[in-house]
Subunit: 393 residues, 2 copies
């Protein structure tokens, strides 16, 4: 039996889907088609490019309005937002933090920055997020409860928090995850770096945990060059996030008093100006991206051996990165498909190497990761910029 997929046919479908003849097609490019220049020029004209200026507050206001979170705090990038978020929920040296093995490295690095230990958990085939049932069973087995805190029986370290990643923008099963977190006294942080514009049961992601995290890196649905944000519905969390991200300086006309360890994490005004212009266009970006996803779905629906990943039933996803999943028997075709598409200038990619396989995390605790391991072998992200797939595609 032939275990090779027809790479030429798939290249042809991707060319048809993206509809950019003759061009190199990146995985995800920004569209700077709104008021970006107007707002950035305003910063330059006023000399307000750094910590002075109105765009940071305005961007935060627009983010809060759009996501429905009470507060947004803009920071230099999603990694900084994760680091700050973990600090704020109280993660300390020697704690453990649960997170999917299937994620971008920043999620695990941020745990390490706190001196804590990442503890890797498995994914769900249908959501690409954490599998709450499997997690519950695992925590039942490996934890012991003491004074309202879960401890890892084996390491005797406290397990403080769980980071739920909305993989490629698809919402994880938040209600069920939230229930598990409550049961085991874990603070829930949503890593919504990829999920701006994604909804779980009609409510925007980022509103389930104590706080959540966005990214506006150049490859995200909107960009500020580099940037990120913390979302929260807790005013106390918002205040501390703003304070600690600006060196924890006490307000005073001239004195320099800082009341705790702080960070230089606040987003500069010029980057926020870009963000203001970008978020004004988000509905249009999402409509285009959802159209592209639908086009891909139609194109791939009859291709043997490949499934186009669709949003979970409870979700309305931003389809940040469109994803093909190879059937198990075609796993060996992954690299040749990557080769064939790259040769044609279609910059596909596989998913991240699982965190537990990276040198610096290989001794960290993890549960059975059979689903994540299977997905790692079988997923391919395909070009997903909002400008792709135009009508005559």
């Amino acid at each position: 039996m032939n275990r090779n997929l027809d790479a030429n046919h798939i290249v042809k479908l991707l060319k048809h889907g993206t509809n950019q003849p003759g061009e190199v097609i990146p995985l995800h490019e920004p569209s700077l088609t709104g008021k970006e220049w107007q707002y950035v020029k305003d910063c330059l004209d006023k000399g307000w490019v750094s910590s002075v200026g109105e765009y940071v507050n305005l961007f935060e206001k627009k983010l809060a309005q759009y996501t429905g979170a009470r507060h947004a705090i803009a920071v230099v990038n999603g990694t900084a937002a994760l680091h700050l978020g973990l600090k704020i929920v109280g993660v300390e040296y020697g704690d453990e933090v649960l997170l999917p093995a299937l994620t971008f490295v920043a999620t695990a690095n941020a745990v390490h920055y706190c001196g804590a230990v990442p503890h890797f958990i498995d994914s769900d085939m249908d959501t690409l997020g954490i599998d709450p049932k499997k997690l519950d069973d695992y925590l039942k087995e490996i934890t012991v409860q003491k004074n309202g805190c879960s401890y890892n029986k084996k390491t005797m370290r406290p397990i403080k928090a769980l980071i739920a990643v909305h993989t490629f923008g698809h919402p994880a099963d938040l209600d069920s995850i939230h229930t598990v977190c409550n049961k085991y006294h874990l603070d829930l942080i949503e890593d919504a770096a990829e999920a701006l514009g994604s909804y779980y049961k009609q409510k925007h992601t980022g509103n389930w945990g104590k706080l959540s995290v966005l990214s506006f890196n150049g490859n995200k649905i909107i960009t500020t060059g580099g940037g990120g944000a913390i979302l929260t519905n807790d005013t106390g969390v918002a205040e501390i996030a703003k304070h600690v991200s600006t060196t924890a300086k006490i307000r005073h006309r001239w004195e320099f008093i800082h009341d705790q360890i702080g960070y230089n994490y606040r987003l500069p005004n010029i980057n926020a100006a870009l963000g203001c212009a970008q978020i004004e266009q988000i509905d249009q970006f999402i409509n285009k991206k959802r159209s592209l996803a639908e086009k891909y779905r139609q194109l791939f629906k009859n291709v043997t051996g490949i499934t186009f990943f669709r949003e979970p039933a409870y979700a309305r996803s931003n389809y940040w990165l469109n994803t093909l999943i190879l059937d198990e028997k075609y796993t060996a075709s992954r690299d040749s498909l990557l080769e064939a598409t790259h040769e044609q200038g279609i910059l596909t990619r596989p998913v991240w190497t699982l965190m537990n396989k990276l040198d610096m995390f290989q001794n960290c605790p993890h549960m059975d990761l059979s689903i994540a391991e299977s997905l790692e072998q079988r997923m391919i992200n395909i070009p997903s910029s909002s400008k792709l797939g135009g009508e005559d595609g």
Copy 2:
């Protein structure tokens, strides 16, 4: 005897010196008078605002050329550069790092981020930097040498590195500090955040230590919105700085393999574009700032009770922040002078609160800090933007 300075007279001199009648005069504003628009617009037109684009490499090249360092690595801010620099020289959990008590809080925070303990040292009245003689005497007393490393006798922690700050842009006594570092096996890091354009004995600062650190925050001599850099003459250090600041990802067309804990510290392209335009103007900024300093010096040379701080004899300083030092007997006038100037829209400020007095560092080790304590009570920074002090002032 009257222990009060004549605040009205000093306000009058500052108004004359700055020559901006009727305006609020910030301490230090950016001048965006070059090709900022052109380069930033180019980023927007090409869609290269984030990690893709030529401006980061170009900015690094220009920084290296200007400073004479072999390599420059552009990062999100000076704090990130310090953190990364300390990591690169091998500062680890439980180490001690020497740094002046008289510095901006980022210097001490960066040490804390590594899990290390800041150890505060005194300043020199004539340079505002570390006093190398006093430091040498102190280290002789409190350290013991073992296996080519200095240990703090009292805490038994290794003392790994020393951060020499070039306060307000004035070069510390680098040759003597370097000698002390060699004697005690300390890695020298220059915190040149404020010292772009400052020379020690005809050579640009930032070239003495294993690596050094610049800042391009909005209040610095050139700005990228937020930004910083590591300078080094060591190619190995440069390579690791670049690698670790970009999530330690191994180069590969599509695989995501990261070989160590990394950071999201690389400067975005749009901020680097601003930096390219700014550094093209640096000679002009420094000429203007040195003229302003000379004007202040003339204005204050006969004022009883106040000395305008001048660059050390070995240095050619950028005069980032001009500084008045009150005579000891006029210490009590500091706050009324700050009041009087702020009332008139002249945004002077005192120096930073000494690090050992901040809550989070008050239990950290420190030497006798009598000079720093005296300076803390007596220094006032006065407006220093390059646009001030024009000819007819």
